[in-house]
Amino acid sequence: MSTMTETTTQIYRVYIRTSPEAVWDAITKPEWTERYGYQGVADYDLRAGGRANMRPGAAMRAFEGIPETIIDGEFLEVDPPRRLVQTWRMLMDGGLAEEGFTRLTHEIESVGEGVTKLTVIHDLEDAPKLANVVSGGIEAEGGGGGWAWVLSDLKSVLETGSHMAAN
């Protein structure tokens, strides 16, 4: 059928009772990124062309064989507190690293009444293994629940100050 579209893009959206600036800090500052989801420590040089790496947090370092850098990439657009675009590659194992760089976009927008909309757009062309990981496909094996889990936890941390990943 001519109207068929094939997409390898995944989109996740969450509304958080906080400011766009607070969301920006939570996704870019290491003291925040280690508090929710996979609890990686952001190693960011926040400018176009700058380093967009993630180091394992304390919980992850407890596992044997975790590399020093778990995600690497480069910032393509840095527009605080509205838009962050980066290349993104997971280095947790050879199969994932082999798929190469994907493209990750965060869009942050105030929708009024103290609520901010955060949209994550992950273009996963030619990266079926990573697509499975970030959609929560390996959660049962302890691989974490992907973006939906990360954003749920991020909302929890920003709104209540506590998170679920540590439980």
Binding site: T3, T5, E6, Q10, Y12, Y15, I121, G145, S152, M164
Partner: protein, 105 residues
């Protein structure tokens, strides 16, 4: 209406669940594609998609001239993390207690 109310209301309709199932199988579809799988007018499908968008279960994005619809699992995840985990944990620990009790008897 709270966010959770919108999600439950959106999920309380079989056509809307069908639309979510179709997007789960293949994401990023146009209205025309979704409409072709339902015995329903275009307007009817649009109305259902609007309810799903208001519940944040579907995110629509423009791609060139087309509007593509994506399944957003985050609201269901929020309900899972806040409510269902709470009950399953309690049930599991109750079963563990029962097992311990029976085995020590």
């Amino acid at each position: 209406m709270t966010d959770d109310d919108r999600v439950f209301k959106a999920l309380a309709d079989p056509t809307r669940r069908f639309l979510l199932d179709r997007l789960f199988v293949r994401d990023g579809r146009t209205l025309t594609e979704l409409e072709s799988e339902l015995e329903m007018t275009r307007f009817g499908v649009m109305k259902h998609l609007k309810v799903l968008e208001e519940a944040n279960l579907v995110v629509a994005r423009r791609s060139g001239r087309e509007k593509l619809h994506y399944l957003n699992p985050v609201p269901i995840r929020l309900i899972h993390d806040r409510w269902i985990d709470k009950y399953t944990e309690r049930r599991v620990s109750a079963l563990v207690d029962l097992k311990n009790e029976l085995e020590s008897a």
